[in-house]
């Protein structure tokens, strides 16, 4: 019998995008607030969000960041990198250029002390293989984010899995994003649309379309996803909200994935880190759209003991709740869920470091 998992609690600064973008907080403010409120010990950053001049990172910045981490007692878990294959206007980056583009980001992660680099779906199995020597050199793990509308059974993810199994390196893996496995359209988004005066009948039809697509199952082809996208655009136009059609289609068909929580099990041996994506916590303390309790239960039962970043994406539309409070409530839900499954979440920094060293096979 597998020992029960003890995942490590943490947060990504992405959850606090709204205040950071508005210059209300600096990165230092956010890191200190995370520590003060006990939202760690794990801490994740998006390189292209938090670090000015990224992917160039000065030695002085590295020293400053490591000093801040030492002082706050937080544990760096993941640096999120971006694979900007469309960087140039005239053409796509070649595979060589894309690999070169990722290199300084991987190096920056290692220098800042992050054991995992989140990379994105623009990277093919060949690209991942070409990046492997770099990951080995810096001893970081590259986790390709499995983000809606992709999902564990999607052919692109299956192709990566197949390559990982061939290569057998623990330096390559996945970062599952829980947004691929929703059970309901977030009520806060509908509340926002309602506040903005969107027609009530359209709101009902958006939710109905999502459930219709849910019954069809997570999309296996781009054609299928395209058809859904056009369906939502059409609804918006029919109801006089054509100007928000793209936004509604991106939200309904792009963010709110249809995979089942059990689908993650196949990827767990390769899950280097996770994005505990969530949208809202209701009055009872549950997440009505992301089945947090079910997912945490599956991880614990399967013996998975990696880091989970609480990733609040509700800020895109929800400007009436405090992001720190929402994250705290989501983490309480995760801790309860782990306890209900007979285990617990790791919240002590020293224990987190030792659990993650074992997870990442670092001595």
């Amino acid at each position: 019998m597998t020992a029960l998992g003890t995942p490590v609690q943490g947060v990504t600064l992405y959850s606090f995008t709204r205040d950071f973008h508005a210059r209300k907080h600096s990165v230092e403010d956010l890191v200190r607030e995370v520590a003060a409120r006990g939202l760690g010990p794990g801490i994740e950053m998006v390189g292209f969000q938090s670090i000015q001049g990224f992917p160039v990172v000065a030695d002085g910045y590295v020293d400053w960041f490591q000093g801040l981490i030492a002082e706050t007692g937080l544990v760096p878990t993941c640096l999120s990198a971006n694979a900007d294959a469309g960087l140039r206007r005239d053409r796509m980056l070649t595979d060589d250029e894309l690999v070169d583009y990722m290199a300084p980001q991987v190096e920056a992660a290692a220098r800042l002390g992050f054991p995992v680099v989140r990379v994105q779906i623009s990277l093919t199995p060949d690209d991942m293989q070409r990046l492997l020597p770099l990951a080995e050199k810096h001893d970081v793990r590259l986790g390709l984010e499995v983000h809606s509308h992709q999902h564990p059974k999607h052919p692109r993810i299956q192709a990566l899995l197949e390559r990982y199994e061939q290569l057998g390196s623990h330096h390559l893996g996945f970062v599952p994003d829980w947004g691929a496995t929703l059970r309901e359209v977030p009520a806060t988004l509908m509340a926002r649309y309602r506040r903005d005066g969107v027609d009530e009948d359209l709101l009902r039809q958006l939710v109905a379309a999502w459930h219709e697509q849910d019954a069809e199952g997570a999309p296996m082809t781009e054609e299928q996803h395209g058809r859904w996208f056009r369906q939502v655009m059409g609804l918006a136009h029919q109801h006089g909200s054509g100007d928000r059609g793209i936004e509604m289609a991106v939200n309904i068909t792009g963010l709110f994935g249809h995979a089942k929580p059990e689908d993650w099990l196949e990827l767990l041996p390769w899950a280097v880190h996770m994005h505990g994506k969530f949208y809202e916590i209701d009055a009872s303390g549950d997440e009505p759209s992301v089945p947090v309790e079910r997912i945490v239960g599956l991880l614990v039962d399967d013996g998975w003991s990696g880091s989970i970043s609480s990733e609040w994406e509700g800020f895109h539309w929800n400007d009436w709740e405090d992001p720190f409070d929402v994250v705290a409530r989501m983490q309480a839900l995760m801790r309860r869920s782990a306890e209900d499954a007979g285990s617990r979440l790791v919240t002590d920094p020293d224990e987190a470091r030792s659990v993650l060293a074992a997870h990442h096979r670092r001595s």
Partner: protein, 132 residues
């Protein structure tokens, strides 16, 4: 788009000797290369400003709008402002109210939907701003 599409904020507008300077927030959640800016349309007092008169300033450099598309090694940091300079023979005085509308189109270089086609976010803001 899903994210905060606020590009104009209360202190966006500044007066210069030869015109207006409009500081824009990036309508996305991360820093992007300046080459992601695919178009900028500015209206002042309801009238569109000819594009060839506009300049865009960032990181201490100044570009025409078409030149922005070539700047794929110039980063627009999330907390920085892209300053659009509108030439005017008689700029308003500090404290004056000015009706400003800006549409900024940005192409997201990692969200491809077809060969050479990327998700583009068009953010339009219309505000009456006090010149600073």
């Amino acid at each position: 788009m899903a994210t905060d599409d606020t590009i104009l904020i209360s202190d966006s507008l500044a007066v210069r000797e030869d015109g207006l300077a409009i500081g824009l927030k990036i309508p996305w959640y991360r820093s992007l290369w300046v080459s992601s800016v695919s178009d900028v349309v500015v209206k002042v007092g309801g009238a569109e400003v000819p594009k060839d008169g506009l300049r865009a300033e960032i990181n201490g450099k100044s570009f025409t709008i078409p030149e922005l598309g070539e700047q794929w090694d110039e980063l627009w940091f999330l907390q920085d402002r892209l300053v659009i300079v509108v030439p005017q023979e008689q700029p308003p005085a500090r404290g004056d109210e000015v009706d400003v509308e800006v549409t900024l189109s940005i192409r997201l270089p990692y969200m491809q939907i077809a060969p050479q086609v990327y998700v583009t976010n068009h953010a339009t803001n219309h505000r009456v701003l006090v010149a600073g």
